[in-house]
């Protein structure tokens, strides 16, 4: 018996060795077979990514090297390759069988924030082992020095997003001629618009073919902030203050690319500004100085025209207003936070300027997760997370608020002139506030209205937010960083107000 069991043991052991060897052998075969570009393309139902890959420098380059799907979209061998392959494989299989390919928003998935999740920096570095090849330009050397000092906060694709998938709108070379549009010189306005009493008027930008609507906002009083029981209320929205504002005009839509590029074309600096971001002296910025070419693609390739402009700095938005004032002979500026909320509410006192419960519009809670979000109330008014497709939309896609303003909530968030403080309302004195202007000083500015990226909880009339200057300039490798463009902020723009002087 003992002998027999020993023999059985040996046979079992041998069998085990053979099975293991076969598994290892065929396992490796399977890894190789499921890592070819054709295999990837056989399931991945987004043919444009294959097309853009074929046009990219990772396929079409002087050295004749072809970089394959798995070279970037999986980590290097020995650094978690198999684990990640199993994970993405399982995800892909699930998506292939259980999800509707039409439901994917490929454009959103190609944005840097998402792309970082499925492009492995270790894989970039695995091939690109020398950040300082001979012949690299001075700008390139400076940019790589900067990158190396950011200790993991920047991914190679923060700058090199187009190397694997060609995107003509995001090419670095595109930036130097950013916003240069051929326009017929015959239709240029020579005179600005005329303001007559507190009535809506059309503003014409002299020297351009651009006009926009200004809505008269009658003065009045309102409750600024949100009551304690408003769903999703944040602490910085209170205490509620009684506020009075004087009449003013507010632009019907967020400043469009047409409007902003008129400024860019008339004032744009050819060379770089010598003002560094941190020590720029606002008093010395005259209305003549204008933005330098941006580092990335500020419009994200979503189109310009009437689309809301974005990614300009708060400083640039203020200089835009100075410039607009000078060429139209009026007093344009950014709205105060109080003016903004007064205009947004248009007499309404609830979370939005339309009927609806924020709790029904967000993808939170068991019911909404199971049965979907009921967006019927909000859909026609606001471009927000659940209906935007992760991008801004043309202004006229939505319905006006009670004052006749479009996109006060959602689409792009909007700069205000106030410094942000979490306790700004508590800092105010008791009683009725007349035209409050926020804290005397601060580090970041107020932004309002939420954007296409926000859920319904963040696009309420009382929601407050603020600029993140350092984070929004993280990618910009220029020294000094741009005073004009954020490199990492594509959801904030602004709206102008024009002062109304009753004696005129």
């Amino acid at each position: 018996m003992r002998r027999k069991s020993k023999k059985t043991g040996r046979i079992l052991f041998l069998l085990g060795v053979i099975v293991t060897a076969l598994l290892v052998f065929f396992g490796n075969k399977a890894v190789v077979a499921t890592s070819t570009d054709d295999y990837c393309a056989s399931c991945h139902i987004h043919p444009h990514s294959t097309d853009s890959w074929k046009l990219s420098t990772h396929v079409d380059n002087k050295r004749g090297i072809r970089v394959r799907c798995v070279d970037c979209h999986l980590p290097p061998h020995g650094e978690g390759y198999l684990v990640e392959k199993a994970k993405t494989g399982a995800r892909d299989v699930w998506a292939k069988w259980f999800r509707d390919p039409e439901s994917f928003n490929w454009e959103a998935k190609s944005q840097i924030e998402h792309a970082k999740g499925h492009t492995f920096e270790a894989s970039c570095i695995h091939c690109h082992q020398n950040n300082y090849p001979l012949g690299l330009t001075k700008e390139g050397r400076d940019a790589h020095l900067y990158y190396e000092r950011q200790a993991g906060e920047l991914h190679c694709i923060n700058c090199h997003i187009t190397v694997g998938h060609y995107d003509p709108d995001r090419l670095h070379a595109k930036n130097t001629d950013f916003g240069i549009i051929e326009t017929a010189s015959t239709d240029l306005y020579t005179e600005p618009g005329v303001m007559s009493g507190l009535n809506d008027f059309t503003e014409y930008i002299p020297g351009s073919a651009v006009s926009f609507e200004m809505i008269a906002i009658p003065g009045g009083s309102f409750q600024m902030g949100s009551p304690d029981d408003e769903p999703f209320r944040n602490k910085d929205e209170g205490p509620v203050k009684e506020v009075e504002v004087d009449p003013f005009f507010m632009a019907k839509i967020e400043v469009s690319w047409d409007e902003y590029l008129a400024f860019f074309k008339q004032t744009g600096a050819q060379g770089k500004s010598t003002d560094t971001y941190l020590n720029v002296d606002k008093a010395q910025v005259d209305a003549i100085s204008g933005p330098t070419p941006p580092y990335g693609a500020p419009d994200q390739g979503w189109g310009k025209g009437k689309m809301p402009s974005m990614s300009m700095t708060h400083n640039a938005a203020e200089v835009y207003c100075q410039w607009l004032s000078e060429i139209t002979g009026k007093s344009y500026r950014l709205p105060t936070e109080a003016e903004w909320e007064y205009a947004a509410r248009g007499g309404s006192t609830g979370p939005y300027y339309f009927e609806g419960d924020p709790k029904r519009f967000v993808k939170q809670g068991v019911r909404n997760k199971l049965f979907g979000v009921d967006t019927a109330g909000i859909n026609s008014y606001v471009t927000y997370m659940e209906n935007s497709g992760a991008r801004s939309l043309p202004p006229e896609a939505k319905i006006e608020n009670p004052f006749g303003l479009l996109n006060m909530l959602g689409n792009v968030a909007e700069f205000c002139s106030d410094w942000y403080a979490e306790d700004a309302y508590a800092q105010y004195s008791d009683g009725v506030l007349k035209n409050p202007r926020g804290p005397a000083q601060g580090e970041e500015h107020v932004i309002r209205g939420g954007s296409y990226r926000d859920g319904a909880d963040r696009v309420r009339s009382a929601s407050r937010d603020y600029t993140r200057t350092d984070a929004w300039l993280k990618t910009d490798p220029q020294i000094p960083k741009s005073v004009w463009w954020y490199s990492d902020c594509f959801h904030v723009g602004f709206r102008v107000v024009c002062e109304y002087n009753e004696t005129e």
Partner: protein, 448 residues
Amino acid sequence: MGSTNKSSRRRFLGNTAAIGAIGAIGASQLIKSCSTSPEASTGTVTEPTILPVAVDGKPLRAGVVGCGGRGSGAAIDFLNAGPDLSIVAIADVFQDRIDDIRGKLKEQKDVELPDANCFVGFDAYKRLLEVDLDIVILATPPFFRPEHFQACVEARKHVFMEKPVAVDPVGARAVMAASKQAEAAGLCVVTGTQRRHSWNYQNVLARINAGMMGDIVSTNVYWNQNKLWHREKQPDWTEMEFMIRDWVNWTWLSGDHIVEQHVHNIDVSNWFVGDHPVSAMGMGSRLRRPTGDCYDNFAVDFVYDKDIHMNSQCRQINDCANSVSEQIRGTKGYSDGEGTIWSPEGEVLYSWESPVDASGEKLQNSPYVQEHIDLVTAIREGKQIVEAEETAISVLTAIMGRESAYTGRKITWEEMMGSDMVLGPQGELAMGPVDIKAVIPIAGSAPE
């Protein structure tokens, strides 16, 4: 170690069986990824190599850019470093400097240079780089260094260059990047940080690193000396010629004396601490300097991570207390860097003694020559050394101190790494008037 490996291997096989086919996929990769990590060593001294002469090997040909006192000195030091070394080309902006170095080379080393390999002008370095040579010695005033160094790296030449390597943050960063390019291109670069090539400093540091005086808690560094040289403007000199001949007195050419001279001691502190300071708060002024726009005294408090302070002083004024030295203090003792380590009570824990040769004579270590011995040996043995980045970091440290003194502000390393400050005239250089604002900075504001 062995048992650990065995158990992890057993665990691995067990897992494979349990997971089945998927687990077996790529099993060979998993086996490959097994590795051992070496035990960290503590307390042992890594003895620095004593190399009194460069190793023999392939002949090396050098060119000299900047043929003033330091350039001709460096040329002779290079020739004295070992066998089969030659100087084959020279470049300078002044003809008399060319004549001068040719005379010295002929007289001291019997080297004769053909006219065709002697270049004059601001672009002379470009023509020198077209000569067949292996090494370039850069010894011009530091203003020119970043551009010259970049050109040498692009031309794939090994480089010996004098400190400092830049006068402004843009230049310092350019050298950092070019240093990385040199590293990637397999080039060797030695900078004129003599103390790093001194056996006494190397041996003291080896013992500090082994823990002989505990962790470093502070450093003091000094370069207080008499007035340095200056030139009076001559009637037939243009402004540019005057400034370059009087260069140590002009900030755009020298970086001021905290950068030009005191960087030696600041570099020792960075080298021993193993880091660069994160901020500087300094002061300084100009009391007795006859020409130029530089200060003649600075005192700066530099702060490293963990709140380690470097107290730095430099002065170039006659008849004051002088000291060119360092003191490094640790939790269990202190050192002068140049030879001795003491206990906190003043008992000598270590004292450097130069080794002796076969006949009992003490070996001589001239750091000026040692720099070239180390460079030539590195090239010939294929053991790359690139010192430019570390030196650029020390230079930027000194610039940070200078800017703090000039402005009266506390300046951070981050500001320096993000600064667009460029000194000197912009555009093409030529003999003639110089378009710079020669204003001596005054910190702060006057009382109302």
